[in-house]
């Protein structure tokens, strides 16, 4: 998962439009806050099935933690970014900024070739 890094590698787990949106949303919450699945869905305008699919991929990467609890006997699902996920998102954002600052469009996002330094 960690390729030779020139500082512009974009994490493929996050670097897909839907998962980027999910990760950015979770990162905007308080550091240890969790969000209920329906509320998350509303903030993302995604279908439940689509959101579940992407959450599973983020969960597999260890970026997201999904907890199932009961609230007054109704099952509730909460989603939170893990510490790993938070730092992956921070790295991703830093890499994107570096790409934009350094490459001026020469190196497209997601390219693995070293940047023109």
């Amino acid at each position: 998962m960690t390729p030779p890094d020139d500082g512009t590698h974009l994490d493929p787990v996050i670097h897909a439009a839907a998962r980027l949106k999910v990760t950015a949303t979770l990162a905007a919450l308080g550091p240890d806050d969790r969000i209920a699945f329906p509320r998350l869905q509303k903030l993302l305008d995604m279908t439940a099935g689509n959101l579940s699919t992407h959450l599973r991929k983020l969960e597999d990467a260890g970026y997201v933690e999904v907890t199932k609890t009961h609230e007054r006997r109704t099952p509730a699902t909460y989603v939170a970014l893990t510490a790993t996920g938070r730092s992956a998102f921070r790295d991703y954002t830093a890499a994107v900024r570096r790409l934009l600052a350094g490459a001026d469009g020469l190196v497209e996002a997601g390219t693995d070739e070293p940047g023109p330094t």
Partner: protein, 227 residues
């Protein structure tokens, strides 16, 4: 994962919904747009809350002050001013409760726990004040005593809870408002009636509105530089 997609970032999107890959600039724009949307949706709007309480205090206590002043300016009696103040305070409470519940619904964690406990502090604080005021009925029937204790006591509860809130969320404006409410509402009680009502209306209500204005200006400043 798959190398072909990474070399053609703008044309990905064969692997299912949401798998398409954005360019760097679009990614950054998406992050900023979404994070702004989320923080607006899940945070309580100080402009709305302080604005609602500011209007309630300014107008409600102003009517009280005028009704006691004997100026006959509006031909208003204290009996007519009381329900208006009650309604204004009730409206501000409903706005605060509904808005806060809407913003924080579905969020759990340490921040949410702090918020919920802080919310209960308001209820407990005012319940305790009501009990205290009721206890005095045994010793006096003087309406002025109850008037001063209700208004000044409310200012004490509000002021202390804003000090606590400012400390809890490291929010100096909220802390300053709490100190100001204590000064004008409890210090204002030294003026007697109707001076206390004037203080709570103009200084107290004005303090709420000024705080709301500070947050509104700060938000406009941030929106201006945010793009």
């Amino acid at each position: 994962m798959d190398g072909t997609q990474r070399h053609e970032p703008r044309r990905g999107g064969t692997a299912g919904p949401g798998e398409e890959v954005l360019g760097a600039a679009e990614s950054l724009a998406l992050i900023e747009r979404q994070q702004r949307r989320v923080s607006e949706a899940v945070s309580v709007d100080p402009v709305l809350i302080y604005g609602a309480w500011g209007v309630a205090w300014l107008v409600g206590f102003l009517l009280f002050a005028l009704s006691l002043g004997g100026s006959g300016l509006l031909g208003l009696s204290a009996g007519a001013a009381a329900p208006v103040l009650g309604l204004l305070l009730l409206a501000a409470m409903v706005i605060t409760t509904v808005h806060t519940a809407r913003a924080t619904t579905g969020i759990a964690g340490p921040g949410a726990t702090s918020g919920a406990l802080y919310g209960w502090s308001w209820l407990l604080g005012f319940a305790a004040l009501a009990a205290l005021i009721a206890s005095l009925h045994r010793y006096t029937a003087d309406p002025q005593v109850f008037a001063v204790l209700s208004a000044g006591g409310s200012a004490l509860v509000v002021g202390l809870l804003y000090l606590a809130g400012g400390a809890l969320w490291r929010e100096p404006h909220q802390f300053a408002l709490g100190a100001w409410i204590l000064l004008t509402g409890c210090g204002g009680a030294l003026l007697g009636l109707p001076g206390l009502y004037w203080a709570m209306s103009l200084a107290g209500g004005g303090g709420f509105l000024l705080t709301a204005a500070v947050f509104a200006l700060r938000r406009r400043g941030r929106a201006g530089t945010g793009r």
